[in-house]
Symmetry: C2
Subunit: 273 residues, 2 copies
Amino acid sequence: MKRRTVFFLSDRTGITAETLGLSLISQFEDVHFSQVTLPFIDSIEKAADATNRINQCVANQGDKPIVFSTILDPSIRKVLERSDAYYIDFFKTFLPGLETELKIPSANVTGRIHSAGDPHAYNTRIEAVNYALNYDDGARTSGYDSADVILVGVSRCGKTPTCLYLAMQFGIRAANYPLTEDDLHVTTLPKMLRPHRQKLFGLTIDAKRLHAIRSSRSPNSTYATLQQCEREVKAVEDLFHHENIPFLSSTNLSIEELATKLMVISGIERRLR
Amino acid sequence: MKRRTVFFLSDRTGITAETLGLSLISQFEDVHFSQVTLPFIDSIEKAADATNRINQCVANQGDKPIVFSTILDPSIRKVLERSDAYYIDFFKTFLPGLETELKIPSANVTGRIHSAGDPHAYNTRIEAVNYALNYDDGARTSGYDSADVILVGVSRCGKTPTCLYLAMQFGIRAANYPLTEDDLHVTTLPKMLRPHRQKLFGLTIDAKRLHAIRSSRSPNSTYATLQQCEREVKAVEDLFHHENIPFLSSTNLSIEELATKLMVISGIERRLR
């Protein structure tokens, strides 16, 4: 198998460089990539250190590393460009064309994409995270009026991380309510959910996968048996069909995909950009 | 003020297209951008619909929209390229060069960057989220042995969202413990934290900002007064200095920045890539 080292260079967190770089290298599955993130390269000295690390890598391994860079300061960029690497510079690639199209120079200022500078966005996000925590796992059901969405599904099907992601990424207020044995022996909704029917969104999961997840947490429990998982999954899917609740399966979707698909299907608008 | 519409087009979640596009347009602060994300464009029909929406925008507003696209299928791409827009095609820009450098064709397969396909990565992430929830706000202190980091700071300084972000993004097990009045009248660590000193990381915040945050949640409480906030912040910073605990201020940093800076300073390695 081919091997390459990949560097993600950034003057801030490195999140943008990683997101972009990972989506590109994921298209080369026959190469094994060792990944190194070097965030907060905001001085000539740090740039020189990074360049040394990259060149060291060429000296040790022979092959040029791939570098994905989101550095704005041209003087820092100049130092890094001297490294012996296959160098992809996201800002340099796209900013000049955008400047021409928009007929305006770019600001060349770092740290603009996260929400710290915008108290309203910050508060929206924190409030949404608090909401998700307060209304996790059916802990409270009295504040569903202010929910944007209420996720329902069996225990351990992925409700909590999906709610937290919706909160953190989009500022959406997402509650979740676990449908248990008691709720599932009838094909009608639990009473406290009925007034909020329009906000309900279902999650389901393949019974075998659920069995594996539950077994790793509660080995040898009745709760984790395949038979129990099959019964609950069948009952919950019957309920979703019967009550016309839109739903997704978490079996083959990441949390990001669940969250974004849920928004498309339900039409919920993000509160954060 | 200039206005432009921006489209983020994707065959999957749209997260990569948004990350790319937002980091670029954030460099043009004198333009007001209206943002539209069109995820899951995975058929010729959906591509034609998107193209219509983009062209409609030109018809209504005059100016060409800016399009950021992460679509892999060439036949879908071809439809979208017919739209009347300033079109930035992420994969088309970078994949050919990478193919040449790596001497290997790209897979051209969507949906590779999220962790659903990798049960180990999925479990690491979920376990970390569960850990953050179980060890939030000092709820339990008995399992700190398995923590990667324990955030300490006054109530409402940003500990919980930072822990959740560390868990979700990097699979790091982050607990948090609120330092209250009782802990702060002496400049030594609470007893249960002492054995875990090496794992402690402090968060602080500007007292005025803390006052604003607390006031919006608990108006007119003693807890929210500026005087109380100033006292707690001073005491907690004294403690960090006295005990040599590394710390950051959340006042001007986003959650992403706090999390990534904390990792650089503490040297904690991510468990997820």
